[in-house]
């Protein structure tokens, strides 16, 4: 509660209410109104989340700003939301990106504007709900509801092969979610009739049950992260989604999967997590190394960044499953940083695509001649993606590698190859697109960034640099919660 107002509920429902208002503006004759309303809603939504950061008590791992109301009494389900040091950052990240995607689609989206803007606003509220939910059913409802707007965004405003990508996205994620649902119901029955996630953390479970629960959660979360080998939906979804859709997918939705591991798998099934950590680490390293190599061969810019996302998320899951403070905090930093950087890269590709209607690297060359400002921003984000010190990309990767060294030198060795591969695929793409001679007459006609785009990129660049140079505001807030989680995960939950 802040000033007697339910801060989290406002953060969740304000964008959703604005989304409905935007929908009510009707068809494209009122597109201008829809845009302004959407921008206002998303900015207000972001402002509404700031008190969660400023008012957050850094010295406790307890849930804060908790709201608890009866919802479905028959199953003891509550409207129960709250944040700790881990989830608060993701809520801010979500709310931060909503105005950006609204602005990014400002001119580009010409058909069904109101529905486009409304989808993003509603999705923003739903994703904040995922991060804030402390009741398993509430979590599940938000988690699934997230699929509907994203399905429409990819399918309606996407590229050539959008239907295939949208259906693949939906069914892949639904498979995982349904198994998770069975696990949640099982836990409800084991916990003596409570759906509260904190109660789940204290249910004693035999090893067999823990392993099955871990696997059920693994399907749900690994698909979202996405981990090797269930990652194949992501390149399709990214390539076909409109720019805003790609940004939200990369910046927020992938984080939801890793957040699920932190909130559910590890504390609910700690023994199984340790037992299966080897598998998780192996899959993470495969993602880092193998997917990094796959990225190197891509000819489509969006696919390249999509594979780069999978590779970077491999870092996150690696950090989580080496079970030490460096790994965990590094993973969280990497998630936040990757949100900014991958979002920014997709926006850069979007800028080029809006002008040229091509994502092929081969169609570009010498863009720097006509778009110097754009080239400079793109350079910064490309460097951040390859983990250059001074950018946010460096912080997370460095800390995770530190943690990995503590766990096992060879983990660190394999993970560190990303610094080479990451630089290779990102900078090579950058070189082919931006430098060199002007490739064709279309490139020669390119116009540099307009004011709207400059604002977007300036904000993102400031964040990426700021987080790279002074990461303390991000790390201090998660510190206590992370330590508490590690203590909890280290304790066995096997029945005595």
């Amino acid at each position: 509660m802040i000033f007697g107002l339910p801060a989290i509920s406002i953060a969740i429902w304000l964008p959703i209410i604005f989304g409905i208002l935007v929908l009510a503006t009707g068809d494209d004759r009122n597109a201008a109104l829809a845009r302004i309303l959407a921008l206002a809603g998303s900015l207000l939504g972001f402002l509404a989340t700031i008190p969660l950061y400023t008012g957050f008590a850094r010295d406790t791992s307890e849930m804060q700003f908790v709201e608890l109301h009866d919802w479905i009494n028959r199953f003891n389900i509550h409207y129960h939301v709250g944040v700790d040091g881990i989830s608060v950052l993701f809520i801010l990240l979500t709310a931060f990106f909503t105005p950006i995607v609204v602005l990014a689609g400002w001119q580009v989206i010409e058909k069904r504007v109101a529905q486009y803007m409304a989808s993003f606003l509603i999705m923003s509220g739903i994703m904040i709900g995922v991060f804030a939910a402390l009741d398993a059913v509430l979590f599940y409802v938000f988690w699934e509801a997230m699929l509907i707007p994203m399905f429409l965004i990819i399918g309606v405003w996407g590229g050539q092969n959008r239907v295939y990508a949208a259906v693949k996205f939906f069914l892949y994620t639904l498979l995982g979610s349904l198994l998770m649902l069975v696990a949640l119901i099982y836990l409800y029955n084991q916990s003596g009739g409570s759906f509260a996630i904190p109660d789940f953390h204290h249910v004693a479970l035999p090893m067999g049950a823990q392993v099955l629960i871990f696997i059920a959660f693994f399907f749900a979360f690994a698909v979202k992260v996405p981990m090797f080998p269930v990652h194949t939906w992501l390149p399709d979804a990214h390539v076909e989604a409109p720019t805003g859709g790609s940004v939200i997918l990369a910046a927020i939705m992938l984080k939801v999967g890793a957040y699920g591991f932190i909130r559910f798998s590890m504390p609910i099934a700690p023994d199984a997590s340790h037992h299966l950590a080897g598998v998780m680490i192996a899959l993470s390293l495969i993602a880092v190394v193998y997917i990094g190599l796959v990225a190197l061969t891509q000819t489509d810019m969006k696919k390249l960044v999509a594979y780069s996302s999978i590779s970077h998320m491999g870092f996150v899951t690696l950090g989580l499953f080496i079970f030490n403070a460096y790994g965990m905090e590094g993973a969280l930093m990497q998630m936040i940083s990757h949100g900014f950087v991958s979002g920014a890269l997709f926006l850069c590709i979007g800028v080029l695509y809006d002008r040229m209607h091509s994502r092929n690297i081969a169609d570009y060359g010498g863009v720097a001649n006509n778009m110097p400002v754009f080239a400079a921003f793109f350079m910064l984000f490309a460097m951040a993606n390859s983990g250059l010190p001074g950018t946010s990309g460096f912080v997370g990767e460095f800390i995770v590698i530190l943690g990995a060294v503590k766990a096992n030198f060879w983990y660190a060795f394999a993970a560190a190859t990303t610094l080479i591969f990451g630089a290779a695929y990102t900078l090579w793409m950058y070189k082919r697109v931006i430098f060199g001679a002007v490739a064709n007459p279309h490139v020669a006609e390119l116009a540099d960034l307009n004011l709207r785009e400059k604002v977007i990129f300036a904000v993102l660049a400031a964040t990426v640099l700021g987080m790279g140079l002074y990461p303390l505001p991000f790390s201090e807030i998660m510190h206590v919660s992370v330590n508490d989680l590690l203590v909890h995960v280290a304790r066995s939950k096997l029945p005595m």
Binding site: W71, I148, F151, V156, V163, V167, V182, N189
Partner: protein, 483 residues
Amino acid sequence: MDLIANLKPAGAEIFLLVMACVILIADLLIRQSGRMVTYSLVLVSLLGCALITVGTHAHGVTYAFNNMFVDDLMSDVLKLLTYLAIGMMLVYSRQYLTLRGLFSGEFLVLALFATLGMMVMISANHFLTLYLGLELLSLSLYAMVALYRDSAIATEAAMKYFILGALASGLLLYGMSMLYGATGSLQLAAVSGAILSGSANQTLLVFGLVFVVSGLAFKLGAVPFHMWVPDVYHGAPTAMTMLIGSAPKLAAFAFVSRILVEGLQPLVQHWSGMLVMLAIASMAIGNITAIAQVNIKRMLAYSTIAHMGFMLLGMVSGGIEGYGSAMFYAVIYVLMSLGAFGMIMLLSREGFEADTINDFKGLSQRSPWLAFLMLLLMFSMAGVPPTVGFYAKFSVLNAVVQAGHVWLAVTAVLFSLVGAFYYLRIVKLMYFDAPESRAPIIFGQDTVLLISVNGLGVLLLGLLPGGLMSVCAVSVQQSLLLH
């Protein structure tokens, strides 16, 4: 017990019977243009039934007519929902039937008799009463499907429905006669008592049970007794399909729970195994075959089969959780199915049936509001939150897990995933594809209002499902004799 005390619990049935006869005669005296009078009269009768049902509600369980008839909370709730479903069906189908020359007195009267049959089924406490209600319902439905005489496909559907339905009734009756032979009674509680006392011949009982379950499976349309469902759903005029696919599912739930839970609970170990097989087969065949359908009525027919399989899982789990969740599932299914068939009728025009899935192409461009409502209905059928279909699946899964059948829950969710594909395809056609025809969608104010309430109801009940869930659980708890 004196006559009045006997009549009171059956007040609604008697009132409806009288009204049906009055409407039958009144309709002879009016022309086609005056049909609105009888139509309104039918709606008023349903409203009157609802008032009587609420008015005669007594706390606890009341038996009447020598224990052949029972009035309890479950029967009252199910009857009220039946009136609602029938009323909605009538409003949805008025325009559709008028355009096809089917909006006749026979249709209205048969619909009332079908309703009466369902009410008797819901309140039956005796094998004969159950059978009587079932046949009244079935015969009315056969006749209604056959009402569209000019359509070869409808006539074929009516024949199939009648022959297979008669076969099923025969199976059921045969099973009942065996149970009667073994226990010496047709009254549900007496049958149950006789089985518990151990004096009944076990072989005969199990044989009888197999026939009874087969008959029930026929009526529910559970695999492997499902072959009539797609043909009848497809062939019948959409209004009749809507009637077959909606309210009778409520009666069927009552029917199954009265026979299996009240009458044959002592044989639970036998019938629950049969139901598990029926349920899994129905979910598998229903969901997988639905993918191959291009006719949306056939698709929804297979989806019904799958939904009935899911409902049976609730029955298998037993206890208040299980039966309550099955009842909730049936109620939610009826709500969704009314909306889906209502949408098909809304999109149909004179001389044009919107019954292939391609007719939904580009609906979001022709009518964004209708497309949105259909989206809600489809996601609800697929069981995606925040729509109420999710809670229907959720409560059944919870009952299944609570009964210790985690593997059964996993099987059920895997088939739901298969099911999600074809519901998703409808959404895809509506939102991602260009429309095939730009013909304006003509509809009355009443239907569009109703479909809006129906579609948004799926969403609102999804946001606040607690009340209806509790009603179902409480009515099951108070009504079924749970041993």
